[in-house]
Symmetry: C2
Subunit: 380 residues, 2 copies
């Protein structure tokens, strides 16, 4: 292998795939990045077996040539040093030459680096995907949907299936669900499903979706989601993101969402978020995050929290609409804050079915997004 490549393009591809490198891997070759150089493109691959990321540098970007290849080939280079050094090289281009025994020379200006490479033949193969098992959607929509549900995944390794987000796809409809048994977040949307594919019980770890989220382009880009046995491929164009699917059956959450309310209110999103932010400041000092919410006489609500050591905070809010029974309820301020931060709406609908029953948080007049928060059982 011998080539000259644009430094910035090589660097951005390295940064993209390096998210799949685990520093704790015991498999030596997975501590490396595989470089495949062909005249059609230079492809970089990294994997920690849970996720695998591929990024391809095309021969041209518009009129600009991004690389020239003197000799095609492949090599695996140790990620540790490779990931940082390319960015710091002095010139705009980098020469890479693989010699006997996978010794690799990297040259740029008066810098010369000799890396101990590894045999690309020994690098594990990525799963082969049937491109027919595929749906298409907007990149920024998927990014938003992940952001609106990932907050509710469990961090408890004792229930591994709940550490993921459930992807349900049926006909032209996608729904994401996450729950840690104390709260639940769902988001639905339309999707392009030409092949009529069903996704059932596809659960992807929150940790992996967090990495995917960083790679999803914000612009108006269509991405493909391809399903295989125990893998899902997110095809972002020049970047391919493969993730393992979590084992196990995701619990049925459909029955815990109340269909009618005893108390309903519409709250202004920004003032409610900032009041909750202040109350949370004090409640987190107590480590319980307990906040109390009560309806007042004149269309107002009061939110409060107290700390035996520090003091007390009370917030009042004027509501445009409040109906049903008077209410006194306690809940986790952190959960409410997390939920509110994902709602991109001027008004928020809160629904209550009693002091011991789930609280529903939704954008007003919309049904595509929903948060459920279980209240605290408190005395008095």
């Amino acid at each position: 292998m011998k080539l000259i490549v644009n430094k910035d393009k090589l660097n951005s591809s390295i940064q993209q795939v390096s998210k799949a490198i685990s520093s704790r891997t015991t498999i030596q070759i997975l501590g490396g990045i595989k470089v495949d150089a062909h005249t059609q493109g230079i492809t970089l691959t990294a994997s920690d077996t849970d996720i695998s990321i591929q990024s391809t540098i095309p021969p041209q970007d518009g009129d600009t040539e991004l690389f020239t290849i003197e000799q095609e080939g492949a090599v695996v280079l140790p990620a540790k040093f490779f990931v940082d050094i390319i960015r710091k090289l002095p010139e705009d281009t980098v020469e890479i030459e693989v010699k006997d025994g996978f010794q690799t020379m990297i040259r740029s200006g008066l810098s010369e680096i000799q890396l101990v490479g590894m045999d690309a033949e020994e690098y594990p193969l990525l799963p082969s995907m049937d491109v027919k098992e595929m749906v298409m959607m907007q990149s920024d929509l998927l990014k938003t949907m992940i952001r609106q549900t990932i907050l509710a995944v469990s961090t408890q390794e004792s229930t591994p299936i709940l550490t993921g987000v459930l992807f349900n796809i049926q006909e032209e409809h996608i729904k994401l669900i996450a729950t840690d048994r104390h709260r639940l977040a769902t988001r639905e949307a339309s999707i392009r499903n030409d092949e009529g594919i069903d996704f059932n019980n596809i659960v992807i770890s929150g940790k992996n979706l967090n990495e995917l989220q960083k790679l999803l382009p914000d612009q108006d880009t269509i991405i493909e989601i391809v399903r295989a046995d125990n893998q899902v491929l997110f095809n972002l164009g020049t970047v391919q993101f493969f993730t393992r699917v979590l084992d196990g059956i995701y619990p049925d959450t459909s029955k815990i969402i109340p269909q009618s309310y005893k108390t309903e209110m519409v709250v202004p999103a920004k003032p409610f978020l900032s009041a909750m932010d202040r109350v949370n400041l004090l409640s987190r000092e107590e480590r319980t995050n307990i906040v109390k919410m009560a309806t007042l006489e004149d269309g107002k609500i009061e939110i409060s929290s107290s700390s035996s050591e520090l003091g007390r905070i009370t917030e009042q809010l004027d509501l445009p609409s409040i109906s049903g029974e008077p209410l006194k309820i306690s809940f986790n301020s952190r959960y409410m804050l997390d939920a509110l931060k994902t709602i991109d709406s001027e008004w928020i609908h809160l629904g209550f079915t009693g002091a011991m029953s789930p609280i529903i948080v939704k954008p007003k007049d919309e049904t595509f997004q929903l948060h459920l928060i279980l209240p605290y059982r408190t005395t008095g």
Copy 2:
């Protein structure tokens, strides 16, 4: 005490003094911020006994009134919650009212906070300073001088005196020195010393100078440095920064700086810094940070580092000037990188007195700044 104060001004004063709050204090009242409200100004004080910071809000900023006081007084408020909540209050002004038993009400819009205050009479007094024991200098110059020496302070608590920077002031001249026994950094400058004060063996902990550095204004401001028995006060105008002086005698470092060289060279600052940055990337993987430097035949030098596991990096540099004996030397790449980052000059002068003797790093043609680095003893 009862007052209404501009929220942003109160917040910035809180942020300034809060750097002196230690989360690990066992003295309850030092977990608080003292608020002294007088018509002449509202003064906030925080202290961890090692450093104390005072910030004063004046009655006016130009034509804008910054506070109105209904009743003067003082209280100590728990920093934990107070530091974060003020910034998040909904309105531009904040009302603070101290009631019986130091219960303090904070109001802004529909937010009401009740804080468990403490008796300001119990707050420790700051040292009284004799304002005659005072020198004056530019704030940004002091900031630069700290930045150029603090890198060399020791992190070893076994030699406490070396964890500080030595301040020497004699006549119209100030010199800062820091050393961890492996490297040394000095910086000198002129100072205004109307009272003819001498500072001898005044050593201030690097940790404290790091906090001071964040408070020093960048603009063209004159600050005062006031000396007392075991304290120094940096008077920055509306902010007063008190720091304890380290106990012990600072070692005499004057004799270790060589007066003549066996090899001298002038290197271009930016290319040398970036070459050293690349070499350091590999050498730090070996944890020893060893880099080798050698003069070549044709007015060039070569810098290299190798890792048994990863490979090798070699950098060459063309020098405009090199004289004396040929040289092969090994040193710590981190120390060189730290030193180079503090030199604001296009060309750097390197002086060597042999492979086992100190390396001197200076801006070319200048004597006000100097770094000394001890080489590694290596075989071959």
